[in-house]
Amino acid sequence: MAIRGAGVRVSTGAALVGALIVWIALLGPLITLLAHLTPASVWNALSQPGALEPLVTSVTASLAALAVIVLLGTPLAYLMARGRLPLPRVWEAGVILPLLTPPLVIGLLLIFMVGPATPIGAALSHLNLTASDTFFALVVAEIYESVPFYVLGAMAAFATVDPALEQAAALLGDGRWRCWRRVTIPLAAPGLANALAVTWARAMGAFGAVLIIAYHPFGLPMQIWVTLQETGLASALPYALVLLVVALPLPVAAFVWSARARRRL
């Protein structure tokens, strides 16, 4: 027994050391970034004329992408979670596909799908929209890169809501929308918040598809890339910090809030 007890202790210790190494490795890039920046260098980079434009572009484009994703992705995620769609595997495959496709390939294919020379592109031009090197193109690219994170997360969130509770609400007089507002959404909210947070971070950091169809206007990831190409590593770092500072608080806040909300349920 004593030997077995010692064995358990050793393996637990080894697992802890392994976990610590992984944790430090994951945090490594952030620590490195902070170690290489001084307040003066950040200030210097960001006080240049027009330096904050990529930030504004990234935030507004990500907000627009998020709005579209939530509006269209939430009902889809709900129907998928409740098994109300015929051929559920086919729908799931469609949602997962952008996740499995390399972002650069998504960008290339988007050019062939919605670029100015395509039928969809022609239709868009009637609405004065061009899906190439425009703010609109940036939003489209961000949607494609981040939508699976929201739909899959929201699906998992809705799956945790007991259908019997929705039936109880219906028996108590709620119509579908009222039931959604009073029961489904509040109960799924912690999971939805997490899904939203991850999606926001992905949209803010979208790069591969953006590089192909929305080189302009520069968002933060493009600004980092272009600065890196033109003036070198050191001058790109402040933008990397800005991207992190802007992209991360929302996910962190969402994780903290949803953990608390789950404890209350």
Partner: protein
Amino acid sequence: MLVADFEVARREFSVRVQLEVAPGERVALLGRSGAGKTTTVEAIAGLLRLSRGEIHLGGRPLSSARYPAADLPPGRRGVGLLRQNPGLFPHLTVLQNIGYARGIDAAATRVAAQRLGLGALLGARPRGLSGGHSSGYATGHSDGKPTRHSSGPGGHPPNGRGMGMIGMRARARSAGGDLAVRSPAGPMGATGGAAGVLIEVRVPLRNETDTHSPG
């Protein structure tokens, strides 16, 4: 009068029901697990669509396989369904759970809660209350007043199941409900291999021409 003549097809089986329950009458359905008792009461409550036939209550059509789009939604049928799982909303307080139904007056909710000995727990959430008691509290007098039944010795704090039933009952009452369905009914749930549901049509039925709903 409840008149039900319908068939519901589920994935694994289908249930064929012919049933008439007069006002003031209570009908118990007994059957083995899987016999279709729950399917029957869920169809009457409007949670399932019919594949064939119709359901009428007091002359008013509740469900019809021919015009499913015209089926009355569950909350407007005047049907109270008391299920084994009470369906308490974990994000709402006891008071909010009891008063959840549309058209329930807040003062009446408080009075009902006080009568049931829930007064001190109104601000609590159901999770903290539901453990430890077997079947606990239920309601279900044909006069529609929430009345406390306890399977154990008196003095237990109320558990979650009882409050859900109270909420359902309150809803059936506020809608001028005509029909109460219990699944499974307490005493019959204990009859060996067979379980039961109880269908009770209340007297008097509301005016048959009155289609007003508080919802």
